[in-house]
Amino acid sequence: MRAYELMKETFYRRSYIWIVHVSWFALYGLYWWLFLPEGPDFGKFVFVWGGFLLPLALSAGIFGDDIGSGRICVLVTKPFWSGELYLFRLLGLSFQAVVHLLLAGALVLGLHAVMDKGNTTDLGLWLLASWLLFNTCAALSTTLSVFVGRAFNSLLLLVLVAAGYFVMGMLMRMLGDNAMTGAFMSFVRYGWPPFTLLHKFAAGEYGPFALTVGKFSIAKDIACVVHSLMLAAAYSVLGIVILSRREFSRVRD
């Protein structure tokens, strides 16, 4: 009951959320209509919009709104572990992503069947990669929302990701391949939302390893999935710790 209400609340907390979903579907249709006569990957488009930009749009102010308005003061006086508040809201986002991506997949397949345009190769894998990326980005954005206590957590994440790749590019260009850039690259590889990893995972760029089905290495693909889920879990643990220890007061006496 509590889980259901908290997950439901993540959808109803802002009236614009359903507009985000609907306009996103319109965007997929438009992209299909305008840019896929020759059949490049539709999956890559869904990966960027559904995996990265959708969680930013849906998680904006997910805790910041409550902290800013003082509503959190009532929520955290209820008799349950504060981590549940975080977890069920994140699951609410993740569930929205599942429904959204499945509908997006149905839309693409439907359009493909009707118009015979574009390429739907490995669409399922791209949708899975999008969902995994969605989870990591949503968890990081939610944690940032708990930390900053304002509604600009998504914008902050966007700036952080852009700044991270900019710094990485600069370092590679200026310093070349040395210990410092190596350490930074390792941090980005293992601590950052796994954009490159999941892109390669969905594109089937990993060569055969031990168990291979077609062009995919099952062992490496499983490692990609586990890494993404663990990263989302790590971001979540950080958010839960901050939420549990944070003080909430609007002292105006």
Binding site: R2, E5, L6, R13, D66, R71, P79, F248, S249, D253
Partner: protein, 342 residues
């Protein structure tokens, strides 16, 4: 019975029995106060800003010890910045004390066990997005872990008690301040908590709503709930509770002596005639503040003197038309105390 050591002065204020809760509750030598719903000892809260020096720290609460028992309504009064909301937030477990401790029903504040026993109503309630009042109550009932039938029963009861029939199925974010206050109180009451923490509960309520709120809180008190109210509406508070904590600059100030002193007043007596002669003949000069043939103003140190004074005057031949004892009420006292301390 006062095991928890409430020290107070019983006195008559506006004809009602009033007990002033004194701050420094003596609980030394005992582990917990029996019957106490809220208990704190040496509670201190210092707010520090990140990366700011020690000199920028604000001590919002300093060495506060108190005890609130079941079936008691306690009013927190004091000027802005006195520490009332900080004290409420500490009891609610929203913030952590810098020193000291506070318990709710014997459990450390901020623990899940303590939260099971408290309902909190903030000063400015906010409700989620597009929820109706009924959906908001259902949501909070679910957060409390109540089963669906119990939630439905409690919603129906809250609707009756708080007169919410007209707007229970309307979107809560569009409510007027008064409607929001009723809904916030209904949320705080869900789960029938043993402790209600209310921050300015009568904000925005119309006169009928204020009377209903007062009656409801009295019923809850009679049912055994403890209620702590922070409010600037002293007139309302006075009608609701007889127990006050006067806070000033983060401390609870003992006001028992001042209130006792405030019981002194002026007796205004309207007469048909001969006021000056009667005053000279029947009253000590030191007591007569002013005298005309039609009116006498007499100083009284204790309200219990009044019946004897009136009887003496009547027996001495005074034809009395009206008698009025003018005294300092809690509002006047509050203003005087604030002025004295600033």
């Amino acid at each position: 019975m006062s095991e928890y050591g409430l020290m107070g002065s019983e006195l008559i204020l506006r004809g009602r029995k009033t007990v002033l809760v004194q701050a420094e509750v003596e609980i030394a030598g005992r582990e917990t106060a029996q019957g106490a719903v809220v208990e704190s000892q040496g509670l201190t809260k210092v707010f520090r800003r990140l990366l700011a020096g020690r000199d920028k720290a604000v001590c919002a609460l300093q060495d506060v010890s108190l005890s609130v028992r079941a079936g008691q309504i306690v009013g927190l009064i004091g000027p802005n910045g006195a520490g009332k909301s900080t004290l409420l937030n500490l009891i609610a477990g929203l913030i952590v004390p810098t020193e000291g401790h506070v318990t709710v029903c014997g459990y450390r504040a901020r623990s899940v066990a303590a939260r099971r026993h408290l309902g909190f109503m903030p000063e400015h309630p906010v409700f989620p997005g597009v929820y109706t009042a009924r959906a908001v109550l259902r949501y909070h009932g679910a957060l409390l872990g109540l089963p669906a039938p119990a939630i439905a029963t409690q919603i129906d009861r809250a609707v009756q008690q708080l007169q919410m029939q007209e707007f229970i199925d309307r979107t809560a974010s569009d409510f007027s301040q008064g409607m929001k206050q009723r809904l916030a109180l209904a949320i705080a009451m869900m789960g029938e908590p043993q402790l209600l923490l209310l921050d300015e509960p009568s904000n925005g309520l119309d006169p009928v709503g204020i009377v209903q709120l007062r009656d409801l809180l009295k019923r809850l008190r009679d049912a055994g709930a403890a209620v702590v109210i922070s409010s600037h509406r002293l007139g309302e508070l006075e009608k609701l509770t007889s127990d006050y904590l006067f806070m000033h600059r983060g401390r609870i100030v003992s006001i028992a002596e001042q209130v006792a002193a405030s019981q002194a007043g002026q007796l205004r007596i309207e007469l048909v005639a001969d006021g000056v002669a009667l005053a000279e003949r029947l009253l000590p000069a030191s007591k007569v503040l002013s005298a005309t043939d039609k009116e006498l103003m007499i100083a009284v140190a204790d309200p219990e003197e009044v019946p004897d004074l009136v009887r003496d005057l009547a027996q001495g031949g005074a034809r009395i038309m009206s008698v009025l004892l003018q005294r300092e009420n809690i509002e006047d006292l509050f203003l005087r105390l604030c002025n004295e301390r600033t």
